[in-house]
């Protein structure tokens, strides 16, 4: 990826401004900027996952564990969990039940462009970082698990057997120390199935691949438009529905559903307050006229 010095400085300036305005009580680690910080791709980073190239070696799964210092499993995990943030799933894609066909697919946090989890977190423990990943700060989190409920992909996982539980999901923590220029899973892939870059660039690359080999790929990039787009883009040779991806999701960002209701709160509050004050003023008019006592109404029990 080419990035001029001028562009780099622009990005730094914009990030500083964003950070300054969006200052929070406890900024999380991924927010630190400085000399050691990697050069961020313009327009938010993303990962392109070409499932046709995946050989199912699970290198990305192990690399993720190693980079994040997570406990290794005796048997490689097949689902996400509090100690497995990235997983290779072997899904049966056959339409014929008698002849199973198994295909590997890498699955982790989709880092949505408009994440439901970020939208529902009451305290802002989850934020869409400006380099494109969804960051989590356990020091802010209250453990309400609304994010687990809201995530359409079932990504956030919880330490159910801990008195001090956290939300566990990919936060590109492997890049937080600034020693990597791309996530550990991308680094580890021996088959070029994973590619790290800016989202717009990767979308162009993906469209190129589909255009060059229309017979090989399904003409759809999963994550381009789903729930307003995600920062994990999938290419596939079989229909995504058959591949076990959720295809029932709308193209509109999910947070809008809540915001439609939430944005009406000031109006409702104002209307109710004015209405009730008016009613109270009207119903107490005779007592005001009488004005024998300072206040005729009290919380005293009736006679």
């Amino acid at each position: 990826m080419k990035l001029s010095r001028r562009d780099f400085l622009k990005v730094c300036g914009v990030s500083a401004a964003v950070l300054g305005i969006g200052a929070r009580p406890f900024p999380s680690a991924p927010f630190t900027t400085g000399a050691a910080a990697p050069i961020l791709p313009k327009g938010g980073s993303a990962v392109l996952i070409d499932t046709t190239r995946c050989v199912g070696c699970r290198s990305c799964q192990f690399a993720c564990k190693q980079a994040n210092g997570l406990a290794p499993d005796d048997v490689p995990a097949s689902t996400l969990s509090a100690t497995t943030l990235s997983v290779v799933q072997f899904r049966n894609v056959s339409t014929d039940p008698t002849k199973p066909v198994v295909k590997p697919v890498k699955f982790a946090c989709m880092h949505c462009e408009n994440p439901a989890c970020v939208s529902v977190c009451p305290v802002g423990a989850l934020v869409k970082a400006e380099d494109g990943h969804v960051a989590y700060d356990e020091n802010i989190c209250i453990g309400c698990r609304y994010c687990i409920t809201a995530c359409p992909f079932g990504v956030p996982k919880y330490n159910w057997n801990s008195a001090n539980p956290k939300i566990n999901k990919c936060q590109q923590g492997c890049m937080a120390d600034g020693k990597r220029d791309r996530p550990a899973c991308v680094q580890a892939c021996p088959a070029q199935a994973l590619q790290f870059g800016s989202r717009s660039e990767l979308l162009t690359i993906a469209k190129d691949r589909i255009a060059k080999e229309p017979g090989k790929y399904v003409n759809h990039i999963y994550g381009e438009n789903e729930i307003g787009g995600t920062a994990r883009l999938y290419l596939s040779s079989i229909p995504f529905e058959q591949f076990g991806f959720r295809t029932d999701l709308p193209n509109e960002p999910l947070p809008e559903l809540t915001w439609n209701a939430q944005s009406k709160i000031p109006a409702v509050l104002g209307t109710v307050a004015v209405l009730l004050s008016g009613i109270a003023w009207w119903t107490h008019r005779t007592e005001r006229k009488a004005a024998t006592e300072t206040l005729p109404v009290s919380l005293a029990p009736g006679k």
Partner: protein, 518 residues
């Protein structure tokens, strides 16, 4: 293991295994001796009330010692479970003792008594009170409790002991230890019932307070205080329930300072905080009256109307925002319950269940405290409930038709069944009863329909938050609340009932003149 720790363990085990049992045995022998010894007539009799305070103090200090010991041990060894294992044999022996000896003896005695009464009815006529048969029992001044009261106290003690155990387990080991929640079912009955239903059930406070102070309908004055008390207790229980459910409960204050305005949960948190404060202020005149504090009473009376208006605004916001919680996952909930109008439905049904709860609570407290039921008020309330239910019902039907979700009504299965139960028993049945003048005139019919409304709205909340999710209509694993979760829920509910009873007994909650005498 370090020598110090070894010494401490041995000392601790000596105390627990040898000193305490010896002290117990000698103590019991000494007490028996004192009771059974013949004494002069005027000798003071043994009074339970004299023994109780020192016994309580020793119990509390014992518990404190155990807690300190456990914390110290945990900090030194970082192994809490091992500590429990040290006492496994004692628990097993106690369990076996109860199962093999106490239970058979009690069963034998019960069967024997029953047989004796059946075979020899004359003996029953001759039977003397227990105190005369065993004079030693007369030496104890038992608190005066009826048979049913004793049973209730026993069951409550059992429930609360289990509740304390579950509380310790939940806060020491985490949610997974006590609950059946999982990553697939991150919200269970604590959210579905304790919090979401709890807030709805406590809606009676703002409705009655608003009727009296904003709409100035004076005749509802006698039921303001019980309604506000029910609401205050309800919200306190919601907050306690929330503390159980929040994984990082020690961060519960974060919503005060850290805001995400997109989250309906932030709004609910703020409104619950503020409204609980408002309710406490609305309730405070009762305390001030009790202790005859004049100037705070004046201050509160001066701000009553703005306070009630504030409470109504807050209630409108968070009762509806609880419905907004579910707007963000349309694909997870059956269209019978998911609707963009969820906030509106939650608000209207909260008004209905608030009225229902006031009626239920008035009926129950009239029965418990031998007061007269305010029949004319119940009639007015039931008319209001009927109107609210009609609006709710009409809007529900309209919404189903507009969204084209009526087809789901006839899909056989768990969801359509739950929907028909909820709407049929919880909305249509009470609506039909209360729509007629005869139904509203009969206190029993009004009480029955109020119970139906309460049950229907609780079912609606459970359906929306839990049972209406697609997982429950499929064949995969589902969440069923664990015994631990149910124990905590029932403990909280019973604590609320007991607190209401105590407040009604010791505070001027009900109108003067016909004060509680139960």
């Amino acid at each position: 293991m370090s020598p110090t720790l070894e010494f401490l363990t041995v000392a601790f085990m000596f105390v627990v295994r040898i000193a305490v049992p010896l002290a117990l045995v000698f103590g019991v022998l000494y007490l028996l001796k004192r009771w059974l010894e013949p004494r002069e007539e005027n000798a003071s009799r043994f009074k339970l009330s004299l023994v109780l305070p020192p016994a309580l103090v020793s119990l509390v200090s014992f518990v404190a010692m155990v807690v300190v010991g456990v914390v110290a041990y945990t900090m030194v060894t970082n192994q809490f479970v091992n500590l429990l294992m040290l006492f496994r044999d004692i628990v097993v022996v106690l369990y076996l003792f109860a199962l093999r000896i106490v239970l058979p003896v009690v069963l034998l005695l019960a069967v024997g008594t029953w047989l004796e009464r059946r075979l020899n009815p004359d003996a029953v006529r001759e039977s003397k009170p227990l105190g005369e048969r065993y004079p030693v029992l007369q030496r104890i001044h038992w608190p005066r409790v009826s048979g049913r009261g004793a049973l209730a106290i026993f069951l409550l003690a059992l429930l609360w002991a289990a509740g304390i155990g579950m509380t310790i387990a939940r806060f020491f080991f985490g949610l997974g230890y006590v609950t059946n929640m999982s990553d697939d079912f991150p919200w269970g009955i604590w959210i579905g019932f304790d919090v979401i239903s709890g807030v709805a059930l406590a809606a009676g406070g703002f409705i009655i307070a608003g009727t009296v102070y904003v709409f100035n309908v004076e005749r509802f004055h006698p039921i303001v205080r019980p309604a506000v008390l029910t609401a205050l207790l309800g919200y306190l229980l919601v907050i306690i329930g929330l503390l159980f459910d929040l994984g990082r409960w020690y961060n519960v204050w974060h919503p005060i300072f850290m805001w995400n305005l997109h989250s309906p949960l932030l709004e609910v948190a703020w409104c619950v905080m503020l409204y609980t404060t408002v309710l406490a202020l609305e309730f405070s005149p009762i305390i001030f009256e009790k202790f005859n504090l004049q100037w705070p009473l004046k201050v509160i009376r001066a701000i009553t109307i703005p306070l009630v208006i504030l409470g109504m605004c807050l209630s409108t916001l968070h009762q509806s925002s609880l419905g907004s919680l579910f707007l963000i996952f349309p694909e997870k909930i059956n269209p019978l319950w998911y609707s963009p109008l969820l906030p509106v439905f939650f608000f209207i049904s909260a008004v209905a269940v608030g009225l229902g709860m006031v009626m239920v609570e008035s009926n129950l407290s009239a029965r418990a405290f031998h007061r007269e039921l305010e029949d004319h008020l119940m009639r007015d309330l039931s008319l209001a409930a009927a109107i609210t239910l009609f609006i709710y019902f009409a809007l529900k039907v309209y919404d189903l038709i507009v969204r084209g979700a009526t087809a789901y009504l006839t899909v056989p299965g768990f969801h359509s069944m739950m929907y028909w139960i909820e709407m049929g028993l919880g909305v249509i049945a009470p609506l039909l009863i209360l729509a007629t003048r005869r139904g509203r005139a009969s206190p029993r019919a009004v009480f029955a329909s109020a119970v139906l409304i309460v049950g229907g709205v609780v079912l609606n909340r459970l359906n929306t938050a839990l049972l209406g999710w697609w997982a429950y209509a499929g064949t995969g694993p589902i969440y069923v609340p664990s015994l631990g979760e149910l124990t905590i829920t029932f403990t909280l509910v019973s604590a609320g009932v007991v607190a209401f009873g105590l407040a009604a007994k010791f505070l001027p909650v009900f109108p003067r003149g016909e004060h509680a005498h139960a």
